[in-house]
Symmetry: C2
Subunit: 422 residues, 2 copies
């Protein structure tokens, strides 16, 4: 199988100031064209470490993709090193220079020496022009291996991969097919799920692998098949995926590689229904998730983030009596918030949440992690209590994904009721 | 200098389904105790690859931290492999078993065979008990090197690091001091900033390194100093950090390692002022950023996410005339939204945003990336137009960080005006 290593260069990755999101994206795209990512290595801006890593990964992989270390500032040492490593010197690339000049002209900014240097490349590379920034990419070939160096800025790297690298690699290497199918479950733990599908897993042929990907109280299951004959790999995979779907049908959210907000948004869109959120403890995060996908305006019209009791009362019309008698984190309050959201924002469905996300603000009766969630339409309100026990960030994320799942189940039930009534 | 390698194990990291956030956190914490992270390597659930990586990183580093591969499901091969690598067999650890049992009792769930296996550890390790989950951590020592294996679940790994590993490592290795100072700038590009502080950078002593960390149109600058005498390292670093702050004073947002939402939130809190947001295109993301920090209720009371024109009119009282004459993405609309937010949510300050985040919805007059932002208090409204040119996600993030920066500058100016008037 054609194997790749991804090398990321930059001290910022080793001092923890930047989270590497590039590698995951690159791995997904490489898998799609049949390249298996065998290793990912991050090294600092250190000459000796970079050379050693290039040597090592040349032994590990056929394709070595390098990101980072190409910015205009002085802490970058990668380009001269690559020129030397592949035995050449740095020269100005005219097309890259035109590109830098055009970008500066468009921004109406003067160019300085450093900016001109962005157009320098090792003479022994094929240049990959950068349509989204100033640093060109570089393609090297040596001893049957391919090395591609790209900027670390995510959208610049992604542009080069999509415009050039992903199309050019299959011209050089004969690829196997790597195909995956993913489904999302909710409401069952990882170990129980594993027990539930133990026999299925044991019976899988060796060219199909099962992975468990737990996240925010939900578990994704992924089947990955590898082989040289694409259509036969695909049909075997689909057969086993159908078996798996049947086994987990009770917990199945989607048989596609989609997130909970996307599944919920698509369900609403397909039914021509709208949703609003009335958020206290999640502070707008559910609204953000619902609007992260393009086209959200088809099913989403707005939200009220009612962090204070005043906003709960004045904008969502939660009565002072309810807040005084039961408190902001209570079943009565989220029910009133959901009803208020339906009325004020005029949608078919509403989600309301109120809770204590921590680290402070808990009491013995209402500890950190206590959350009330309500989902409603004009006929019915359903509410449910949760007790999360993590840090603030994770509590917010768990509240949001559980609220969306409650809404999803509520919609399905309500639409079935509506269909029966007609 | 004491060097560490971080190894992450799991196919999910190589097929791109999971983004590795653990390594960045670990690197930050290791730096704080004087350990330099030399390399980070991700490998799949493959016996041969894991063993080879352990061998390699043993040569690269003194401390090898391993995460992942310890879950209860069958795709995990790490624990038996570690037992073998360090020359022993798996045995049940009684304390870990008690922990697993206690967790299942609390969740009111029956235990199955797989769950019992979670309490197995190699007999030749020191067990690190897991207070947040079922999989115990393992500490090995061999040929003067330390190896620690921890679960990949972020809060479980973080708990073990903070409760145990970070305190124990300095008892074994004599650490150098690694100290950093970070500041955040806004309103100047990376290359110009580099030109602006070129002489400063050239004059830095060899034990102090400068890093540029650009993010969402802002650049963080980080000075990192290393040495054996902590107080002299610190005083030299502080001297150079003061020089740097003076050089970039015009663009300085904060001289601490803080994000824009945190800086803005703290400014509001310190002045006892409150803010509301009226968000169209950011869909609640600014509200989410403002409420991500604990204690946000001191300065944040609520938001209206007005994705549809109907919500802009009915909840924020933007007039139909304005929307008809100028459209939802216009200076007039964001100004009216900001005024509406002040009135409806009764805060001292308001942010309003409206724009086209893409990929669809652009027109020749109003292309994708066009954003209007307004900031206001009861005396004044300021508005500004932006043209971003990235993907949806990045456009949302850029809009949010620029809106918060505009608010920050507006508050500083308004408070100065108010102080002069008194």
């Amino acid at each position: 199988m054609v194997a790749a290593s991804i090398i990321t260069i930059g001290d910022e990755l080793l001092i923890g100031q930047v989270i590497d999101t590039n590698s995951a994206w690159m791995a997904t795209k490489l898998n799609e064209i049949g390249v298996w990512v065998k290793r990912r290595v991050a090294v600092g801006d250190n000459r000796e470490d970079i050379i050693k890593t290039l040597d090592e990964e040349s032994r590990n992989a056929d394709i070595i993709l390098i990101t980072g270390g190409l910015g205009p500032t002085a802490d970058d040492i990668t380009k001269p090193l690559l020129a030397e490593y592949f035995g050449g010197k740095l020269v100005i690339n005219e097309q890259a220079l035109e590109n830098v000049k055009a970008i500066f002209a468009r921004l109406n900014r003067p160019m300085i020496e450093r900016n001109f240097k962005q157009a320098e490349v090792p003479e022994n590379c094929q240049v990959i022009q950068n349509k989204r920034g100033t640093a060109p990419g570089m393609w090297f070939e040596k001893n049957g291996k391919v090395y591609v160096s790209m900027p670390g800025v995510p959208h610049e790297m992604k542009g080069m991969m999509e415009d050039d690298v992903l199309a050019r690699l299959p011209l050089i290497f004969k690829m196997q097919s790597i195909i995956s199918r993913t489904l999302l479950t909710a409401g069952i733990g990882e170990a129980f799920l594993a027990e539930h599908i133990k026999d299925f897993e044991n019976d899988l042929p060796s060219f199909i692998k099962l992975a468990y990907l737990p996240n925010y109280g939900m578990v994704r299951l992924r089947l990955t098949a590898t082989g040289s004959n694409k259509s036969s790999v695909e049909s075997d995979l689909d057969h086993h995926f159908r078996l798996l779907k049947k086994l987990v049908s009770e917990f199945l959210v989607t048989d596609d590689d989609l997130t909970m907000p996307v599944v919920t948004g698509r369900l609403l869109k397909q039914l021509h229904k709208t949703v609003a959120t009335a958020e206290s403890c999640t502070g707008g995060y559910i609204a953000h998730l619902l609007t992260s996908e393009a086209g959200a305006s088809a099913y989403y019209s707005g939200s009220v983030v009612s962090y204070s009791n005043q906003v709960k009362q004045e904008v969502l019309h939660v009565s002072n009596d309810i807040l005084t008698a039961h408190g902001a984190v209570s079943e009565q309050t989220v029910v009133a918030m959901a009803k208020g959201a339906l009325q004020v924002l005029k949608t078919d469905y509403a989600i309301a949440v109120s809770g204590i996300m921590g680290p402070d603000g808990g009491t013995p009766e209402k500890p950190v992690g206590l959350v009330w969630i309500a989902v409603a339409n004009n006929q019915l309100v359903e509410s449910r209590k949760f007790n999360f026990r993590f840090d603030r960030r994770r509590n917010i994320e768990l509240t949001a994904s559980n609220a969306l799942n409650l809404l999803r189940l509520f919609i399905i039930k309500q639409e079935q009721v509506a269909a029966l009534a007609n």
